[in-house]
C-alpha cells in the first residue's frame, strides 16, 4: 500500500512539518491539564493537542479527526472508498458535560457513539462506501490500519482513509489515574525511574491506496495483530503477545528482523509495559536496530497513538529522522535496550523499514511495518475471491432467553423482545470469573460459550474473536462517571474504568478460551454486527483456528434512551445478542455467511447496487427464500421505503420479516436476526407463523436467507447452506 497522504494533530503540533520540528527539537509537549478544571489537587501532566483554534460544534474527538483528515486528504479531490477509524472516546467528553448539566433531552447526545466519528467524516468527505470503527483500547489506531491494509488487499477498496483519534476526557484522565498508571512528573519511557504515562489526545490519519500516487510519503508494508489472552489491563509479563504481533507484522510485510532500521516502541512509560515490550523486542531481534518511544514527548493519545506513530514512522522513513526517546534520563538496565537519546539525522544511512508497536487493554496488540518509498515492492498476489465464512455453531440471547427459548417464541410468530434475564446471562459462567463483570461482558461470555458448545468442537478452541457492540459497556461507563461525580472526583473506580472500554467483553472471551489471535471489537451503531463480520471476513485465514464472531448490547435505564435514537424515553428496553463459531471450511457447516454489501443510503442508486451485489433479479428469485429486514425505529420512514424499493427492483415476492419487531430495538439486533436465519437453515424450514402462510421448506437451490440492514446505511448479509 502507498501512503498517499497523512495528517496529524497532537500535542507535538498540527501537521507533518510541525510534528517533525518538535521531534527534531527533542522537546516534550507534556504539561499540566488545562482542558477542564478539577475539584481537587493540582492538574496532572497530559499531552493536550494544539491547533484546534477554529471553533467547531462537533465534540472534540470528532474535531480532531476532521482536522487530521483534512490534512491527509489535501492532495486528492476524490472521496475515499471507505473510512476506517480507531477510537475509544467518541463523544464522551461532550456526554460528560451534558450529564453534569443534567441534560435529559437526547438530541445533544447524538454524537456519543464511537461510530459517529467516521459518520461525520464520511459526510464531510462525501464518502458513501463502507465505514468501520474499531475500538481495541490503545491499539485501536493500529488495528484500524491493519483492517485498511486487509480491505485494500481484498480489492473491496482502492483508497481508504484510516486513522485513530481520541480526545482528553474525564473518563480517561481519572481512569488512568485510578489505575496509578500516571507519572506525576511527566513521562519518561524506558527510564529506571519511570512511573507511568501521560494521558494525551490527538488524531493521526493516513490515506492508503493501492494505486501509486505521484509522490507517496511512505509504504505501508504489513500489519500483525495478536491478543495476550492474559489479563484485562496488564500486559503479558514476558511480552508474548507483543512478540507475536511484531512477528506477524514482519511476516505480513515479507521482511526479516534485520530489514528493520528503526523501532517505534509502544513505550508508554509504565513499569510493566516497557519491561514486557523490551523482552519481546530482544527475543525477536538478535541485533537491535535504533529504537525509541516518542511518548515522553507526546504523551499517550490512546486510540490515536498507533495512527499518530504510523505518521511519525512515515516521517522517519521519508524525512530521514529517527526520533529520540524524549524524557529519558537514566536508562533502565533491566530492559537491555539502548534507546536513542537524541534525534538521529539518518540521511546517510536511512532506515528503509520501520516497525511501530501499539498495545492496549485486554492484551490487544498490533504492529505495523512502514517502508521508504521506492525501497520495497509489493509482491503479494491478490488473494482469491473467498466464499463466505462457515458457521459451525451459533447462539443468541434475548428477552425470551437462550436460542432454544428464543426460537420457541419465533416459531410461534411471537416476539422475543425484552431484557435478557440476569440468571440466563450468568448461567454456565464460573462465579469467580465474572464477579467483576457487569451486564455486557456477561452477555458476551454467555453467548461465546453457547456458540462454541453448539459447534461441538470442544477440543478446538477459537483463536480469534470478532465482536460488535453499538454502545459498549454502558453499566461500567455509567457507574464510573457516577462514582466520579458522587465522590467529588476523588474516588473513581479502577474496576469500572477497565471494564468501560469497548473491547473489555471480547478480551474476557479471549482470556476464557486462550484465544491469542486477532481480537477486534467494532462499534458501528446499528451496523455493529455487520462491521464485526466485515473484520472477520478481512482477517480470518483459510488455515486458522475457528473464530468467534459476536455482537451484543446491554439495555441501560439511563443511557440507552439517551444515546440510541431508536429507543424512546420510557420505552421498555430490549437487549441481548448473537454469537457464531466459524471458520473457512464449509464441510459439515450448518450454514455459511457473507457480507456482500455495505454502503451509505446517500450513494447513487444504492438499492439497485444492493440488488446487483446479491446476484441480480434472476439469481435472487431463484435462491432467496426469506428476507429479514432491519429497520431501526429512528429511521422507519426512510428504511421502509428502501425495503419496498429493494423488493420491487429485485421483483421478490418472498416473505419479509421486520426482525426488530421480534428482537426489540437495540444496536446489535441484527446478530440475533442472523441467529434466527442460521436456525431456519439448520432445521430447513421457515415456520409458517412467520411466513404468513404455510411453512417454507428450504432446499432445492432455494436456500438463501438475506439479513438486510436499512436506514442510514444499507447492508446485506447472506446466509446459505453450503
Amino acid at each position: 500500500m502507498y501512503v498517499g497522504g497523512a495528517g496529524i494533530v497532537s500535542s507535538l503540533g498540527s501537521g507533518l512539518a510541525a510534528t517533525e520540528k518538535t521531534l527534531r527539537e527533542n522537546r516534550s509537549a507534556i504539561k499540566p491539564l488545562e482542558l477542564f478544571s478539577l475539584l481537587h489537587g493540582s492538574p496532572l501532566p497530559v499531552g493536550q493537542a494544539v491547533g484546534l483554534d477554529r471553533p467547531s460544534s462537533l465534540p472534540r474527538t470528532h474535531w480532531l479527526a476532521h482536522l487530521a483528515a483534512e490534512q491527509a486528504m489535501a492532495g486528492t479531490s476524490h472521496p475515499p472508498d471507505a473510512i476506517i477509524i480507531g477510537t475509544t472516546t467518541g463523544g464522551i467528553a461532550t456526554t460528560e458535560q451534558l450529564l453534569r448539566d443534567h441534560e435529559d433531552d437526547k438530541a445533544p447526545y447524538r454524537y456519543h457513539g464511537l461510530h459517529t466519528v467516521a459518520h461525520s467524516l464520511a459526510e464531510e468527505l462525501k464518502c458513501t462506501g463502507p465505514l468501520l470503527t474499531v475500538s481495541t483500547a490503545c491499539s485501536s489506531g493500529v488495528v484500524a490500519i491493519a483492517m485498511a491494509v486487509a480491505m485494500l488487499r481484498s480489492g473491496r477498496a482502492v483508497m481508504v482513509l484510516v486513522g485513530g483519534v481520541d480526545s482528553l476526557s474525564r473518563l480517561t484522565y481519572f481512569g488512568f489515574h485510578s489505575l496509578q498508571l500516571v507519572d506525576r512528573s511527566g513521562c519518561k519511557p524506558l527510564d529506571r525511574d519511570r512511573q507511568g504515562m501521560a494521558v494525551a489526545e490527538g488524531a493521526g490519519m493516513l490515506l492508503l491506496t493501492t494505486v501509486k500516487p505521484e509522490n507517496p510519503i511512505a509504504l505501508l508494508l504489513g500489519a500483525g495483530l495478536s491478543c495476550d489472552a492474559y489479563h484485562p489491563a496488564a500486559p503479558h509479563p514476558e511480552g508474548q503477545g507483543a512478540f507475536m504481533a511484531m512477528s506477524a507484522a514482519l511476516a505480513d510485510a515479507g521482511l526479516r528482523p534485520e530489514d528493520i532500521g528503526y523501532i517505534n516502541l509502544h513505550g508508554t512509560g509504565t513499569p510493566e509495559n516497557d519491561l514486557a515490550e523490551s523482552k519481546a523486542v530482544r527475543r525477536l531481534f538478535s541485533v537491535l536496530p535504533p529504537l525509541s518511544s516518542i511518548k515522553g514527548a507526546s504523551g499517550h493519545s490512546l486510540a490515536a497513538s498507533g495512527a499518530i506513530e504510523a505518521v511519525v514512522s512515515a516521517i522517519a522513513v521519508s524525512r530521514h529522522v529517527l526520533p529520540a526517546n524524549t524524557g529519558l534520563q537514566n536508562i533502565d538496565p533491566l530492559l537491555g535496550l539502548t534507546p536513542l537519546v537524541q534525534p538521529v539525522e539518518s540521511s546517510q544511512n536511512p532506515a528503509r523499514a520501520v516497525l511501530s508497536n501499539s498495545f492496549g487493554f485486554g492484551g490487544n496488540n498490533g504492529s505495523l511495518v512502514l517502508g521508504a518509498p521506492g525501497t520495497f515492492f509489493f509482491t503479494r498476489p491478490c488473494p482469491p475471491q473467498r466464499a463466505g465464512l462457515a458457521i459451525h455453531g451459533y447462539s443468541c440471547l434475548t428477552g425470551a432467553g437462550d436460542i432454544v427459548a428464543t426460537m420457541a417464541r419465533i416459531q410461534a410468530g411471537e416476539s422475543a423482545a425484552g431484557m435478557a434475564e440476569s440468571g440466563t446471562i450468568s448461567k454456565n459462567l464460573p462465579p469467580q470469573l465474572i464477579r467483576r463483570l457487569k451486564r455486557l461482558p456477561r452477555i458476551t461470555l454467555a453467548l461465546a460459550v453457547m456458540a462454541h458448545n453448539d459447534a461441538g468442537i470442544e477440543s478446538r478452541k477459537p483463536g480469534a474473536v470478532f465482536m460488535g457492540t453499538g454502545w459498549g459497556a454502558l453499566s461500567e461507563t455509567h457507574d464510573f462517571l457516577t462514582r466520579l461525580t458522587a465522590s467529588s472526583e476523588q474516588f473513581p473506580s479502577p474496576t469500572d474504568f477497565v471494564g468501560s472500554v469497548h473491547n473489555a467483553p471480547a478480551s474476557q472471551v479471549a482470556i476464557m478460551f486462550g484465544a491469542t489471535g486477532p481480537n477486534i471489537t467494532a462499534s458501528g451503531g446499528d451496523y455493529s454486527f455487520e462491521q464485526a463480520l466485515l473484520t472477520a471476513d478481512l482477517s480470518l485465514q483459510d488455515s486458522a483456528l475457528p473464530a468467534l464472531l459476536m455482537a451484543a448490547d446491554e439495555g441501560h435505564d439511563t443511557f440507552s434512551p439517551l444515546f440510541d435514537a431508536s429507543i424512546a424515553p420510557g420505552a421498555a428496553l430490549a437487549d441481548g445478542g448473537g454469537a457464531f463459531c466459524l471458520d473457512r471450511k464449509s464441510e459439515n457447516a450448518k450454514c455459511c455467511i457473507s457480507i456482500p454489501f455495505y454502503r451509505s443510503c446517500e450513494a447513487d442508486g444504492v438499492i439497485a447496487a444492493l440488488r446487483d451485489s446479491l446476484g441480480g433479479t434472476e439469481e435472487l428469485q431463484r435462491r432467496c427464500a426469506l428476507v429479514l429486514a432491519g429497520i431501526p425505529a429512528a429511521m422507519s420512514g426512510e428504511g421502509e421505503k428502501q425495503l419496498e424499493r429493494f423488493m420491487a427492483l429485485a421483483q421478490l415476492t418472498v416473505p419479509v420479516l421486520p426482525y426488530r419487531k421480534f428482537t426489540g430495538e437495540f444496536a446489535s439486533a441484527s446478530a440475533v436476526a442472523t441467529a434466527f436465519a442460521a436456525s431456519f437453515l439448520e432445521i430447513g424450514v421457515v415456520p409458517g407463523a412467520l411466513a404468513g402462510g404455510s411453512d417454507i421448506i428450504l432446499g432445492g437451490g432455494r436456500n438463501t436467507i438475506l439479513v438486510l440492514g436499512f436506514g442510514q446505511y444499507v447492508t446485506a448479509m447472506e446466509l446459505y447452506r453450503p
Binding site: Q180, A233, R436, Q490, F491, S493, P494
Partner: protein, 88 residues
Amino acid sequence: MQQLIEELKVKLIDILNLQDVKPEDFDENAQLVGGELGIDSIDVLEMVVMVEKDYGIIINNQEVGEKVFSSLADLAAYIKENTTKASS
C-alpha cells in the same frame, strides 16, 4: 483489632464482589493477592481507593502496597498503625 478485621472482611466481600464468600470463611491470614480468592492488581487498586475513602490513608507506592495487601490481617494492622499515628 478483631473488630477492624471483621469490618474489613465485609467491606472486601462487598467491593470486590467475592461471590460465595462469607465473612466467617474469610481467613485473615491467608495470602490475599494471587491467592484462592482470585484477587489481582485491579482489586488491589479498588482496595487502595477504599482504604483512602474510608480510613483516610493513601497508598501510592507499589512496595508499600505489596506489604499492606499481603493478607487481610496485614491490611488491618497497617490501617490501625496509620490511624493511630494520625490521631496521636
